[in-house]
C-alpha cells in the first residue's frame, strides 16, 4: 500500500514535534504514529532519535520526528542542542523539517509559550498544539484558541494525546496546510534579538488576552507535595516505597515463577524422552533448556520491578525522589543531573552511562560514569534472586517484613552507598564546585495503563531477546567447553570436571578459594563476563552436567545443598561489585574516549568484589562456627 502511495504524493512532508519537557509530546507522537516508529540514535551521539509516519484523513502521508524536550533554543544540554540544530536545519544528516508542531501543556502556558515565541523568530511554518486541554478544562482554565491564534499568528489546535481520537484537530489542520517548497529557517541569532525579560512580558500579555481561569479548583499537586516533599514524611515515604517494591519482587512473583519452572521442567523431560540418551540430549536438555530456563524464570521479577519504576515515572514521582535525595548527591559532589543517569542504571548501566552525556562538567560526568555500574541493574536480579531463594530462609522479621525482601533491599543499598563512597573519593581531590539542578517538578497525573503496559512489554521483549540471543549463545559455548574432552577411564568426578571448562574452573579456584568459591562457580563466572545473568544459566548448565541428572531438578535447592551459607553470601557480595558485563565496559571506553577508564573501572570493581566477598565469607564462617 505504501508503495502505491508514493507516486501520488511527490514529497512526504516531515513535521517535527517540539516542546518543553512534560508537555505530553511523546504521548502525542505515539498517538499519531501508533507502532509505525523507528527508534535510533542521532548520528555521532547517543541521544535517542524517534521517527514515525502517519496518514492524515485526506490520505496524505507524513513523516514525524519527536525532538528531545527543550526549555529553550538557547541550548544548555546536548539534548537541547540537538533540538535547536534540527529545527534550524543545521544538523548534518538531518533534513530540515517542513513544519514545526509546537506542543504545549495547556495547563502551563506561562512556561510553555515562551518557547513558542522564541521558535516563531525562526520563521518556519508552525502549528501550536494545545495538549492536555481536558485537564486544563477540568481545572477551570478557559483558553480562547481563536484569540490565541490571532495573537501568535499561527494555527492553534486542541489535542488530548492520551485519548483515542484526541489528535483529530491536529490532523485536520495538517490537511489544510500546503507543503510546497521547504522554508529556510532564519539564523539562530534571531532568537536573541529580543531579551528574555521582554519575551516573558509578551507571554504575560498574551495570557491576559486569551486565557481566563474561571474557578479555583485548588491545586491537588501542591496538596500531594505537602506530604510527599515534607522534610520528615517525604524521606519516610521514599524509603517505604523502595521497601514495598523489593517485597513485591519476592512475594508477587512466586506463582508465575513456579509456572515457568514447571514448564521448563516439563519441556526438558518431554524433549529428553524424544531425543533419547546421547550428545544431542545433553546439548538440548542440559545445555540449552537447563541454562536458558534458569534465566527465563526471572522474567516475572524483572517485570514487577519495572512495573513500579514505570508507574512512579508515569505519575511524576521520580523528580520528587531526585529532590529529596539531592542533598546526599550534592554532599559527595555529584551534579543534580547525575540522578537520572544513576536511576536508569537500575535498569541497565549502559543507558545510564550514556545518559551521563547530559552532564556538562567533564569531571562530574566521569564520576557519574564510573559509579553507574554500582547501581543494581536488572541483570543482577536473577543472580540475587537465585542466591536469596537458596540461602535466605522464608522468615518474617520485625513482625511483617519478609527476610528475603530485606536482604534484597540491603544489596541495593550496599550498591548505592558504595557508589556514594567512590564518588566522594574521586571528587575529594578536585576543587569542590556546586553543580546546577533546576529540575522541574511536574504536576502529578494518573498513570496511563496503556503506556504502562507497552513499557512493560518493551522490557519483556528486551529480556527475551537477550535470553534468546546472548544467553543462548553463551550456554551453547559453555556446553561445548564443559563436555569436551570427556572423562578419562576410571574417573571419580563428573565428566565436566575433566573438560576444558573444568580445567579453567579449577585453575581459577586457586584464586577464588579464599573467598569460598568452588570450581563450579569459577566456571560460571567466566561466561558470566558477557552479562551478569549468564552466570545463573551457566550454573544451571554446570550443575545439570555434573549433578544428579534428574531432569527438572531445581537449581536453587541444588546449590543450597552443595554450598555453605558462607559461600552463598560471599557470592552475593561479589555480585554487588564485580563488573560482570563486557558491554558496559565497552560503553565506558566509547563514552570516555579511552580504554583507560574501562580498565580502571574493571580493576576497582573486581578489587571491591574480592574484598567484600572475602570479608563476608570469613565473617559468616566465624559466626556459623564452620
Amino acid at each position: 500500500m505504501a508503495v502505491m502511495e508514493q507516486h501520488t504524493a511527490a514529497r512526504t512532508p516531515l513535521v517535527a514535534l517540539l516542546g518543553n519537557p512534560n508537555c505530553g509530546k511523546t504521548a502525542l507522537f505515539n498517538r499519531l504514529t501508533g507502532s509505525r516508529q523507528k527508534v535510533a540514535n542521532y548520528a555521532g551521539v547517543t541521544i535517542e532519535r524517534k521517527e514515525g509516519s502517519f496518514k492524515s484523513p485526506a490520505g496524505r502521508n507524513f513523516r514525524v520526528l519527536d525532538l528531545p524536550g527543550a526549555y529553550s533554543l538557547n541550548a544548555q544540554t546536548p539534548d537541547e542542542g540537538i533540538t535547536r540544530d534540527v529545527v534550524a536545519g543545521l544538523r548534518a544528516g538531518e533534513t530540515a523539517p517542513d513544519a514545526i508542531l509546537c506542543v504545549v501543556n495547556a495547563t502551563n502556558l506561562r512556561l510553555n509559550l515562551r518557547l513558542v515565541l522564541e521558535l516563531k523568530r525562526l520563521g518556519l511554518p508552525m502549528v501550536l498544539t494545545l495538549n492536555m486541554v481536558d485537564v486544563a478544562k477540568k481545572r477551570g482554565i478557559e483558553i480562547d484558541t481563536a484569540k490565541l491564534s490571532q495573537e501568535l499568528g499561527m494555527p492553534v489546535v486542541e489535542t488530548v494525546a492520551i485519548q483515542s481520537g484526541g489528535e483529530k484537530a491536529l490532523l485536520a489542520e495538517l490537511d489544510r496546510m500546503a507543503f510546497t517548497a521547504p522554508v529556510k529557517a532564519n539564523p539562530l541569532s534571531a532568537i536573541d534579538a529580543v531579551p528574555v525579560e521582554e519575551t516573558q512580558r509578551e507571554v504575560r500579555r498574551i495570557l491576559a488576552a486569551a486565557v481566563s481561569t474561571t474557578k479555583d479548583t485548588g491545586n491537588l499537586t501542591e496538596k500531594v507535595d505537602n506530604v510527599v516533599l515534607h522534610p520528615v514524611a517525604g524521606p519516610i515515604i521514599l524509603a517505604a516505597l523502595m521497601f514495598l517494591i523489593f517485597q513485591a519482587v519476592f512475594s508477587w512473583a512466586g506463582t508465575p515463577m513456579d509456572l515457568i519452572e514447571a514448564g521448563v521442567g516439563a519441556l526438558g523431560e518431554f524433549v529428553g524422552d524424544l531425543l533419547g540418551d546421547g550428545l544431542l540430549h545433553s546439548l538440548i536438555v542440559d545445555g540449552i533448556i537447563a541454562g536458558v530456563g534458569s534465566v527465563l524464570v526471572f522474567l516475572p521479577q524483572i517485570l514487577i520491578l519495572f512495573f513500579f519504576i514505570l508507574l512512579l515515572e508515569d505519575v511524576g514521582y521520580l523528580p520528587r525522589a531526585a529532590f529529596l535525595l539531592d542533598r546526599i548527591m550534592g554532599s559527595v559532589g555529584l551534579s543534580g543531573r547525575a540522578f537520572l543517569p544513576l536511576l536508569s542504571s537500575f535498569a541497565c548501566a549502559i543507558p545510564g552511562v550514556m545518559a551521563a552525556r547530559t552532564i556538562q562538567n567533564p569531571r562530574d560526568r566521569l564520576v557519574t560514569i564510573m559509579i553507574a555500574p554500582l547501581m543494581t541493574c536488572s541483570a543482577r536480579l536473577p543472580v540475587y534472586a537465585l542466591l536469596i531463594a537458596a540461602f535466605i530462609p522464608d522468615q518474617t522479621v520485625a513482625g511483617f517484613l519478609n527476610l528475603k525482601g530485606v536482604v534484597l533491599f540491603i544489596l541495593y543499598m550496599a550498591g548505592i552507598l558504595s557508589a556514594m563512597a567512590v564518588a566522594w573519593l574521586m571528587k575529594r581531590r578536585s576543587e569542590f564546585k556546586q553543580q546546577a539542578l533546576m529540575l522541574e517538578l511536574p504536576a502529578y497525573h494518573w498513570p496511563q495503563p496503556g503506556a504502562l503496559f507497552s513499557g512493560l512489554w518493551e522490557r519483556a521483549k528486551i529480556f527475551l531477546m537477550r535470553v534468546g540471543t546472548l544467553i543462548l549463545t553463551m550456554m551453547i559455548l559453555l556446553w561445548l567447553l564443559s563436555s569436551f574432552p570427556g572423562a578419562p577411564e576410571g574417573a571419580t568426578q563428573p565428566p565436566i570436571y575433566y573438560s576444558v571448562a573444568g580445567i579453567i574452573g579449577r585453575g581459577l579456584e586457586v584464586i577464588l578459594a579464599p573467598i569460598g568459591f568452588n570450581w563450579q562457580i569459577a566456571i560460571a563466572l567466566v561466561p558470566g563476563m558477557a552479562a551478569r545473568e549468564v552466570a545463573v544459566g551457566a550454573l544451571g548448565t554446570v550443575y545439570a552436567l555434573s549433578g544428579g541428572d534428574e531432569v527438572g531438578d531445581l537449581l536453587a535447592p541444588m546449590i543450597a545443598e552443595s554450598w555453605s551459607l558462607a559461600t552463598g553470601l560471599a557470592l552475593l557480595a561479589w555480585y554487588v561489585y564485580a563488573p560482570h558485563c563486557l558491554p558496559t565496559l565497552a560503553t565506558v571506553a566509547r563514552e570516555t574516549g579511552s580504554r583507560k577508564y574501562a580498565w580502571i573501572m574493571a580493576g576497582y570493581m573486581f578489587g571491591l568484589a574480592y574484598v567484600a566477598a572475602f570479608i563476608v565469607y570469613r565473617v559468616t564462617l566465624a559466626v556459623t562456627g564452620a
Partner: protein, 84 residues
C-alpha cells in the same frame, strides 16, 4: 517597626513564604548560563514566587507561575527578592 520591604535572596525564604523577584545575579558555570535559564523558566523581575518545601541543607521547591522547580541553594541565592 519599619514597613520597608526586606531585600534578600531566594535561598533565605522559609517554606510557605512568598516574594517578588527583583533581579538575577549573573552566573555561568560549566557551560550553563544559569542566570539566563532561570529567567527562561520564569524567574523574571516582578514575578511572584513561593517556596513550597525545602530540604534541610538541601534544595528548595519553588513555585513560579504554574510550574514548580527544584533549585539548589546556590542557584536560589542568585535570585534577589523582596519579601512580602
Amino acid at each position: 517597626m519599619t514597613l520597608a520591604p526586606a531585600l534578600s535572596t531566594l535561598d533565605s525564604l522559609k517554606a510557605g513564604q512568598s516574594a517578588t523577584v527583583v533581579e538575577l545575579a549573573p552566573h555561568a558555570q560549566g557551560g550553563i548560563d544559569i542566570q539566563r535559564r532561570l529567567m527562561e523558566l520564569g524567574f523574571v523581575p516582578g514575578e511572584r514566587i513561593r517556596v513550597l518545601k525545602r530540604v534541610l541543607k538541601g534544595p528548595l521547591a519553588v513555585k513560579v507561575g504554574e510550574s514548580t522547580f527544584a533549585l539548589r541553594r546556590f542557584e536560589a541565592a542568585l535570585v534577589s527578592i523582596k519579601v512580602d
